[in-house]
């Protein structure tokens, strides 16, 4: 199987984020970079499918040259090679991103059986790049998947709904966007990380397109940070806890 997984370089924000002075971006001076949890699962799934069925996983990103770091992280997880679509520092909206990815897929020498995307990126959360790529390439698309099985030319994909899951069966080639929970992404070994440094990464420079969603400003939402009432510092506080539960009438 030939599998393509698409990932995006995003700032690692375990803690509260702060913004640049113009409020147009996250201040990344003291932040590392990563790719989204959904996309980690996409890479892991690609690698597992190839372990099962044979083939290759190519990982692709559109971003600045520094995004090669994320390609190499994915290669360390088991992807075979990388494609960097060097988007420079231009603003790439979802329509332009999807066009550039679709074009790269069309121009590639490889005929991909499966294109795996995160359901939405952690940062911009536009929820559409996978679907748009599928539309551009005329492929079927299933989104929000948490369980995937490939048998011959058919993929069975499941999406969670309250109380169960929806099942979709699609013929390959197809585009599938996945959510965290699909699998447990592996931690690459030191050796794999070293080897990933040497893996081949192809580069091209797509042309940006104007998007009709224009960023005006970002804002960090206010949170109510009034300290909690401390009920106690030992198990004896259990009495007060049960008082609270009784007052709320939940016990």
């Amino acid at each position: 199987m030939e599998i393509l997984t698409a990932i995006k370089r995003v700032p690692e924000t375990g803690a509260k984020v702060s913004l640049t002075d113009d409020n147009l971006d996250i201040d990344t001076t003291s932040l590392g970079f990563t790719f989204s949890p959904h996309e980690e699962c996409a890479v892991e799934e690609g690698v597992q499918l190839v372990e099962e069925h044979g083939g290759n996983v190519t990982v692709l990103t559109l971003g600045e040259e520094e995004a090669t770091e994320q390609l190499r992280s994915a290669i360390a997880m088991g992807a075979d090679d990388g494609i960097l679509l060097d988007g420079g520092d231009a603003e790439w909206g979802p329509a332009g991103t999807a066009e550039a990815i679709a074009e790269a897929v069309e121009e590639s020498d490889t005929e991909f059986d499966l294109l795996l995307f995160g359901n939405e990126s952690a940062d911009a959360a536009n929820h559409q790049v996978g679907v748009r790529v599928a539309e551009e390439l005329g492929l079927p698309c299933v989104t929000g998947i948490k369980d995937l099985d490939v048998d011959g030319g058919t993929a069975t994909a499941k999406r969670e709904i309250p109380g169960g899951s929806e099942v979709y069966e699609v013929d390959l080639p197809a585009v599938i966007t996945v959510k965290e929970g699909l699998n447990e992404p592996r931690y690459p070994s030191m050796r794999a990380k070293m080897q990933a440094r040497k893996a081949s990464v192809a580069q091209s420079e797509p042309d940006p397109r104007e998007d009709d969603l224009e960023l005006v400003e970002l804002e960090v939402p206010e949170t109510d940070d009034s300290p909690a009432e401390i009920l106690g510092e030992s198990p004896e506080a259990a009495e007060d806890v049960v008082d609270v539960l009784e007052e709320l009438e939940v016990v």
């Binding site: 984020v17 952690a122 940062d123 929820h127 079927p140 109380g163 959510k179 224009e214 960090v220 106690g232």
Partner: protein, 321 residues
Amino acid sequence: MVLTLVEHDEEGLDDVSLQALALARDVADQAGEPLEAIAFGAGAEDVAGEAGDHGVETLHAVDSLEEYAPEAYGRAVVQCAEEVGTEAVIAPGTDRGAEKLAHAASKLDVTMAAEVTDVEVGDSYELTRQRWGGTLIEHSRLTAETNLLTVAANEVSASATGGDAAAVEAFAPDLADGDLRVQLTSVEESDVEGVPLGEARVVVSGGRGTDGDFSELEALVERVPNAALGSSRAAVNEGWRPHDDQIGQTGAKIAPEIYIPAGISGAVQHMVGCKGAENILAINTDPEAAIIQKADWAVIADLHEVAPAIAEELEARGHSE
């Protein structure tokens, strides 16, 4: 005209659709345009009464598609939007809402704005929307010929207007073969027992601070009626809990009457999953943990001692499941 994509089951319109209608009605009012809706599947016309009660004048009912098929539905939305000449198409921020509208956006070659919470209508649409799972707010401008947007789930309050039932117009889309390549094949019921996280009145949740031992928290949950067990992403990553239990940006969004995070630090990505909780009672050994600032009450102690003590106290007072 403003067109809203609504979703329904046998019981009528779902909550997130009613929320989408509230935002859509606000947009329609600002634009001085009528509000219309499009609904799919068997029973689509049955929601006309409820839709009217939420401000919809005309309901376009598509009953020719038996099974859910995202691309076909997306095509139908495009054709309906073009036929009625709408300035905006608004959908609920569900998996289905987002994928249908994304197909429509791609076919119309416009950008879809996702997770919108507010719109100011002027020459363009001035939007407020959520990024980073709600830990950042974006103000942006949508300038497409037809403005497509999804409404962030559970961020806008639904409100009825008491209006008359919407007029029903059948809409029959003209589909291409490829549109039906993806169709719902079947639905599987989950075999998870107990109260679903999303419906629990009490959620007790454990994080890295449990060190992998959830037994005391499990015992506590069993003692409380209508309670469910959740976890942080750290606990899921460690393999201590299944991902279905995870609360947060990349997990479940919950809204219990009380949320009891134990051994959870309160990272923003975790908190966006429980911001719907009415009350928070944190159990943590660290008085400086972020969760203490976010909670209403806190116990600063070891969860492995506090959780059994709470269970005992419940038993002593005669509260048993």
